[in-house]
Amino acid sequence: MKRNLLVIGGVVLACIVCFGALFAVSRLVAPKYHDTLIDGHLTGEYYRETTDHDVLFVGDCEVFEHFSPVTLYNEYGITSYIRGGAQQLVWHSYYLLEDAFRTETPKVVVYNVLALKYGEPQSEAYNRLNLDGMRFGRAKLGAIRAGMTDGEDFMSYLFPLLRYHDRIDKLSKEDWTYWFSDGDPVSFKGYVMHTGVDPATETPKEPYDPKLPETSMAWLERIAALCETHGTALVLIKSPSIYPEWHAEWDAEIAAFAKSHGLRYDNMIAENDAIGIDMQTDTYDQGQHLNVSGAEKVSRWFGAVLQKEYGLRDHRGEAAYDADYAALTERYENEKRRLSEGN
């Protein structure tokens, strides 16, 4: 009996040591997305939040680079967070939203519609950027299943070592530095700042299908249903970038969808003058994405819309939020200065 217990104990101990070692190696080889490819850091940063949010933005790069939660708070007292990611497709957005609803119920969810043009999974690399940082749960499992491209396997999302083991000979200082630490946040409540200026030129024309893919629209339907279940207002937006092109047919389709579901839809491209966007000064990559100046203008305009249409409370003066946003604003301004000096 004693011998059997010793054997079982030995086996258990060996397994613990082995799995511990594999866990450590797994953390080491997984990309840290902290100093390079920071887009991959955004999904995980959400879980560091200590306060809840009235507004949750979801979508692709057009949300995480076009809205400044700092401006929204400082100008209107609106608390917000951006759950956006590079090429975050609509199913990713759905599951990130479902994941967020586990811990908070925002009053408004803002969804940027550009990613609806993709009806199929696009790239493993972007899947990883969006899903690696996601907390384990039903939502993550759903997101993985919905978005895998050919050749990907489910298990490697659950056990990152299976995917990243080939990085063992490509480890950088970043990997060692953030082995067991997530480091400082790279975003400002999901917003990624750029201060450079690269004026917009001619918009390249690409062939397109005048109808948005049915799969995307079905997922949008699910997002609408999810928000309705939680009593959250859904706002559809198309942020003011001029490239990739947002076609009139798509715009009409989304407008019809919004109308049929009783949702608000703002195509901000049409509001560029009202917002004050100048594509000669407010973009850092020729009109694809906005720089901080553009993002602040958009946030000021949209903050007013949100406050007016959804009667969001002004949280300024509430100690918990003030402390949080004061620290964030200081970091935000420092970063703005640092980047501007770099430019």
């Binding site: 054997v7 060996a14 493993e124 490697s156």
Partner: protein, 525 residues
């Protein structure tokens, strides 16, 4: 379903518990169903060809068995009433019928194999000769057909020779033919050994399970850490015969030798381990082949089951066949030595030509097979010379240095022959091989050339370490089975070794997204 795939591991994870949980008398039926799933997973056409083999071999074996029974009854009935000559004539009639059944079945089964293996090649050849669109370009080998055809035909030949009785239950023959671990890359098994254990009841044995897990993990280790890594460089070298020459070819020879060994033995380790996990004993296919001191010894230790098959079913029957005896008789006037050698030489060369042809439809394989035969025959001829050399320098030839020399010589010789395996044409193969002696670029491979082969220095370091581990373990293995020794040290030690193997595979293996889950090299044969 590739061995290195989640689908296969899941398949095994479901099968093993179910296999041991069901009543023992239906274990073999569970296995048969698992085989059906595995075969269907590989493709419908493959399942159809396999079904044809099972049905025809079963029918033929039963017919042959029935003819034996009827022959015995007839001869017994004739004993009192007929003369010896009449009884002999009756026996010959039965023999003729049996032979006819056998030949029809062999033609059908080897015909399928031949069509799939050579159909596309013959189509191209015919189009080249007579013009028109080449036929049969869609023909390709189905999963395991080279292996199960040989195993099942071997069973039929054994029945024909009355070495084994014909199996009455067709499902049991189906189980033998389709046993899934054997379909990936063999070994070619015998009914007498594997066929029987497949249908026997097996109780779960924790120690056996651990031992099997160790063997499977070791197989994956060799495949994923060494073979799949080296295969990248080997493929790069083979793809550009005009570019990589001289010392690159020498490196290619060595890399391919290590790669093929790790790939083939790794796959066989997984096969035997899976069999062991299910209580089924599968024949060993390797016996430290790279420690052989001659090519003929090497072929007794490499792909043992294929060599045994050809020896048992082709070489021996052919050597003593009537035409060979007649040939031997006919050449007697040229001397006893010649008449003694002719049947042996012809049978050897034919067996090696067939061995080459078994490996593939390319002419390179045929030339490779024949060259192996020629080298073996030459070695035989030179035996007296070797004997004189050994007698003259006994201290030298008994030294470790000389043994090492013969081992290295054999490895280099067989690696040189294997160059034919790497290229699409005999011309490319010979041109590349001889460039080692004509293209003087020694050292170029280490002046950055090695990095152009798709592997990093880290990859080479891992692969080289893997080769060293395999070599060291082979040395240790000479003193006894390593797994037995590990298991003797207790469960904790065995589990630790297993975990280390799994851990190193997970970290250093080549698998997952971005890597081609490559099939075993021998699977394409």
């Amino acid at each position: 379903m590739l061995f290195p795939s989640w689908a296969f591991l899941l398949f095994l994870a479901v099968l093993v518990p179910v296999y041991y949980l069901v009543p023992k008398r239906i274990q073999w039926i569970v296995l048969l169903l698992a085989n059906a799933v595995f075969v269907c997973f590989a493709g419908f056409l493959g399942a159809v060809f396999m079904a044809v083999t099972i049905v025809t071999v079963y029918a033929a074996s039963r017919a042959i068995d029935a003819l034996f029974v009827r022959q015995r009854e007839t001869i017994a009935a004739m004993k009192a009433t007929h003369t010896k000559e009449e009884r002999k004539a009756a026996r010959l009639r039965f023999e003729k019928k049996r032979r006819l059944v056998l030949i029809v079945c062999l033609i059908l089964n080897f015909g399928i194999l031949f069509a799939l293996k050579y159909g596309a090649m013959l189509g191209r050849l015919s189009a080249g000769l007579f013009g028109g669109k080449p036929f049969g370009q869609d023909l390709a080998l189905t999963m395991g057909i080279s292996f199960y055809t040989f195993s099942t035909v071997g069973y039929l030949l054994d029945v024909y020779r009355e070495s084994v009785p014909a199996e009455k239950n067709p499902l049991k023959l189906a189980l033998f033919t389709s046993f899934f671990p054997l379909l990936v890359q063999g070994p070619i098994t015998r009914w007498e050994t594997v066929g029987k254990t497949l249908t026997e009841p097996h109780a779960f044995d924790g120690r056996r399970f651990l031992s099997a897990s160790l063997r499977i993990a070791w197989g994956y280790w060799k495949k994923l850490i060494v073979a799949d890594r080296l295969l990248v460089a080997v493929k790069a070298l083979c793809a550009r015969p005009g570019v990589y020459r001289g010392d690159f070819i020498f490196v290619e020879m060595l890399l391919y030798a290590a790669c093929l060994y790790a790939d083939f033995t790794g796959g066989i380790d997984i096969t035997i381990g899976v069999g062991e996990m299910l209580g089924v004993s599968i024949e060993e296919n390797f016996l430290r082949p790279y420690f052989s001191k001659s090519i003929s010894e090497y072929w007794r230790r490499w792909h043992i089951t294929l060599g045994e098959w050809f020896k048992r079913y082709v070489y021996y029957p052919l050597s003593v066949s009537k035409p060979m005896r007649a040939l031997s008789k006919g050449t007697r006037r040229l001397g006893v030595g010649v008449s003694r050698r002719v049947p042996v030489y012809l049978a050897t060369l034919l067996v090696w030509a067939l061995t080459g042809a078994w490996h593939g439809s390319n002419l390179t394989f045929l030339v490779w097979g024949l060259l192996n035969g020629v080298v073996i025959l030459l070695s035989e001829e030179l035996k007296p010379l070797y004997a004189r050399f050994h007698a003259r320098f006994p201290r030298l030839t008994e030294s470790a240095f000389y043994r090492g020399f013969t081992v290295i010589r054999t490895v280099l010789l067989l690696s040189s022959l294997r160059i034919l395996d790497c290229y699409g044409t005999v011309r490319d193969a010979f041109s590349s091989f001889f460039s080692m002696f004509t293209t003087w670029n020694w050292g170029a491979v280490f002046r950055g050339g090695i990095q152009s082969l798709g592997l990093s220095y880290f990859d080479y370091a891992v692969a080289f370490s893997g080769v060293l581990v395999m070599f060291a373990l082979s040395l240790v293995q000479r003193k006894g089975a390593i797994r037995k020794r590990i298991l003797k040290r207790g469960t904790v030690c065995s589990v630790c070794v297993l975990l280390v193997l799994i851990g190193t595979i997970l970290i250093f293996g080549r698998y997952g997204f971005g890597f081609d889950a490559s099939q075993f090299i021998y699977n394409r044969f």
